[in-house]
Symmetry: C2
Subunit: 286 residues, 2 copies
């Protein structure tokens, strides 16, 4: 892989609902490694229209493939004319450090959408900058899209979507999440990752906690969160009640929906992804 | 796993589009091993209605999971009130022989929906009887379904669906296939599998060839086949033109649709699975 910035290598292409699912590799300056991402281009983008983009951030252990293969999002994206971009969940490849114990919740597949400040992570683990800046620049330079952006994600990626949207007012038209890690400073997944990536100063953690950010938000943003009530991680890791309380404090326009019987899997995401796309589409075109 | 016939062990359950995706293990007398299958029960089946069933037969290398995770079929199944049952693609487990070279197109994951007559396959490789008899008996004994059945599949499973439907007039209300191996006696995949499972007498192969069966069919059956035109296996392995010619010979009601740009992947299946469910639903309820 060349280290030339902004060079994309197409590695797969599948026609899907009249549009195209494609995977690309590129050298990321931000992350200092070669990354793969996937893009779904709806039919409208193949006939000269510049379409808005939904960025999808996946959860622990995922790559760009899980969402594109399992969520069934292309149906609604094709109907509505929305592109979807799915990055990987961490830097990868030779020289990129992993957790010494290869735990699923730290290191590879677990970038947590922050810029690490601590060794050995700080060289490569900069998923925040990658998602906020480098990836959209690349997408907007190479694909038939406009500058209307929305962001969504699942679990760790729900945390990523909410925090990135809240930290960057004006950058996204809307944000949504499935089963997000809503209050990472107060749960095991978040504390472990933030301690490793950001160090022991818990004041720094606050800037990447969706509930803290939402409670202090001065600008509003349409926000939809879906949570399954039979999710094994609900009480220990996800804590949607913290997000709800934060929205109450700041008067933030959060719609939080609880769904009886649904779990943490892609079967849950698939059941409601069309509603998320419709929600984002309303704000992307307004 | 107990060897008690008709005993089902539930191994997973995920709520999906208001219904349930569930996986079960059971001891199969037909196959002489423990098998896993998946069932999608639409919301209508959870409130006392007996729903019709679509049997889905997957392609080479698949288990019950590929279709349930990647096809997005639950959306239309939930709307229409159709259950879906997805068996594995071969016997599995201790004592079940595999191809000595562990090729992907023979042995495990490659049962080809026939009853093997040759050593070492004949003890376990009886997927034809399993799909035609044992599995529906089990489903109809344990789940809120009626006796209206349809059958569909992909690639090797498209071959399975077409041949099983054609050999059993009256058993299915309709049949469909994505990218089926339409004329296995004339392609490398089919010849390799039929020689191994059925022996060298090619006259026996004819009874499991969809094009041969369709050309000789005396009873008609609503039949829908979708084929992607950018499918890498199209010319060498799939040969839809043989099926088309067979339908012409016997006047069989085959609808064969060719789709520009689509490949052999689940992205193709997902793009058209709702239309297949609508097609089957029309015949299942009529």
């Amino acid at each position: 892989m060349s280290e030339l910035a902004n060079e994309l290598e197409n590695v797969s292409a599948n026609k899907s609902f009249g549009g195209w699912h494609k995977q690309y590799r590129h050298y990321s300056r931000t992350l200092g490694c070669t990354m793969r991402f996937a893009v779904y281009l709806p039919p409208q983008a193949m006939v000269g229209e510049n379409v808005p983009v939904l960025y999808w951030l996946s959860g622990l252990t995922c790559t760009d493939e899980n969402f594109m293969q399992k969520a069934g999002a292309q149906l609604a994206a094709a109907e509505l004319g929305v592109a979807i971009v799915a990055p990987d969940t961490s830097p990868r490849g030779e020289g990129v450090p992993d957790d010494p114990e290869a735990a699923y919740d730290l290191g590879l597949g677990a970038g947590f959408y922050v810029n690490a400040t601590e060794a050995p992570w700080s060289r490569h683990y900069r998923m925040y900058d990658y998602v906020v800046n480098e990836l959209p620049e690349l997408i907007e330079a190479h694909f038939p899209v406009n500058d209307r952006r929305a962001i969504s994600g699942h679990s760790m990626g729900g945390h990523g979507a909410l925090t990135i949207a809240l930290r960057n007012p004006g950058r996204y038209c809307s944000v949504s999440a499935f089963s997000p890690i809503s209050n990472p400073v107060n749960c095991p997944w978040g504390q472990k990752a933030f301690r490793a990536y950001l160090g022991d100063d818990q004041a720094l953690w606050q800037g990447h906690d969706a509930s803290v950010l939402m409670s202090e938000a001065s600008q509003s943003l349409p926000t939809l969160v879906d949570q399954g009530m039979d999710d094994d991680f609900l009480e220990r890791e996800l804590k949607p009640e913290a997000l709800e309380e934060a929205a109450r404090v700041s008067g933030f326009p959060l719609t939080l929906r609880r769904h009886e019987g649904y779990d943490h899997s892609y079967y849950f995401i698939a059941s409601f992804i069309a509603e998320h796309l419709q929600f984002h589409h309303r704000h992307l075109i307004s």
